[in-house]
Symmetry: C2
Subunit: 248 residues, 2 copies
């Protein structure tokens, strides 16, 4: 049984202001919570179904978190997503860490991605393609937004997201800078270097003018039909797939 | 000013049961409504901001729909999405049409895609890559779900989605059948034919056993990192990009 005070606290962490104040966030669902337990995040509190605790006893034995057994109905009413009925956890946010990129590394730069589902899918794709660092503009949706965490399917544990001023970051980096545009060189014809920064723009407005000025290679995904654009997260995945192929 | 009865009617069309009963659906936002006006869908009623009507007067002159001018605040409170404050329309659903695929055509088969955002992004990607037909299992989320329509960014006007039994459809088709799996031949090494069916499985469970039996080519997106899987819509986009390249 989960106390009313805890339910209220968990709901409050859906709001960025309270997350910042408490320095805590919520992860929901079997996949996210299981990955969280296996990561270096500090898990503070956890409610889980008997089935989840059974499957994850190895990790639960190691955690210092307070663990509460709860019914699936109780768990699903607690979270944002009805299908996340296996587990809910409260964990401590990590301090924002500026990455030290090595020369042969690829990193994503997100210029104001607003949709939580998109940021989550981008983090998941970064994790799939072995991209360890994402640099996000201050206006990009918060990594610890519960919808973002959920959409990463656990990948938020393995990808570092650093929020900063993108123009300054680019100016201080020595990596080549690629930017996704509707007009540019066909990604399948670009001769990609061995590492670099890939800028993905806002869902509605694309890459902002100050960032655009710093882009050295305008790249584009070739179109065969009539859609005006692709979803920003999908475009990111397609570009990463091509970049990884071009290495060979 | 939009009448209370109309507001209630629009809200009711968020529910599949009422959409089927009324044979009507709702499109929200400048992009979707503008595309709708330019399509062969029958638009019945439309509320739009003065700015939207100004920009789309060419199409508004041709429509038989009842057109109401409304304030942006009124429009955003009406829809599902706060950012869709330019226009809302009610249109008539089209009868489900079984496609007659030509031999050199690619079509997507969706085996139980449940997330509206995913179906919307898949329809948008199909439109980008010139795929005209999607065949969806009966359990796949409804094309006319407002979140699906919104996520297509207008592409629902150009891509035909046919709901049917997938195993029967595959058995009756003469196209080669490719299926996306976590284990299969690397998509970058597959020798794709000039046309075919690409099966995309459910977000959590992948391709169902009866459909799996009919798949001739198991294909996979190569992984470089640690994520367990990719988002289903993103995987669809990556596969379509590779298929279109391999044609050359």
């Amino acid at each position: 049984m989960i106390s009313k005070a805890k339910v209220k606290y968990i709901k409050s962490l859906q709001v960025k202001k309270y997350r910042l104040q408490e320095q805590c966030f919520v992860a929901e669902g079997a996949k996210s919570v299981s990955e969280l337990l296996q990561s270096d995040f500090e898990v503070i509190w956890l409610a889980a179904s008997p089935e989840f605790t059974d499957r994850n006893h190895k990790w639960l034995n190691k955690t210092r978190a307070e663990v509460v057994i709860a019914a699936e109905t109780e768990l699903s009413s607690l979270g944002n997503f009805q299908t996340n009925d296996a587990a809910v956890a409260i964990a401590r946010m990590k301090p924002d860490k500026r990455p030290q990129l090595i020369p042969e590394e690829w990193a994503l730069l997100l210029d104001d991605i607003r949709d939580p589902g998109n940021l989550g899918a981008i983090i998941r794709a970064a994790d799939w393609y072995g991209v360890k660092n994402i640099i996000a503009s201050a206006e990009t949706v918060d990594l610890y937004n519960p919808k973002v965490v959920s959409a990463t399917m656990g990948s938020f544990c393995r990808v570092n997201v650093h929020y900063t001023n993108l123009t300054r970051f680019i100016e201080e980096a020595s990596h080549p800078v690629y930017g996704a545009f509707l007009e540019g060189e066909d990604i399948h014809r670009v001769s990609f270097s061995k590492g670099g920064l890939i800028v993905i723009g806002n869902e509605a407005n694309g890459i902002s003018a100050p960032v655009e000025k710093l882009i050295q290679h305008r790249i584009t995904i070739p179109r065969y039909g009539k859609a005006e654009s692709l979803n920003a997260a999908m475009a990111t995945g397609i570009i990463l797939d091509v970049v990884r192929q071009s290495k060979k």
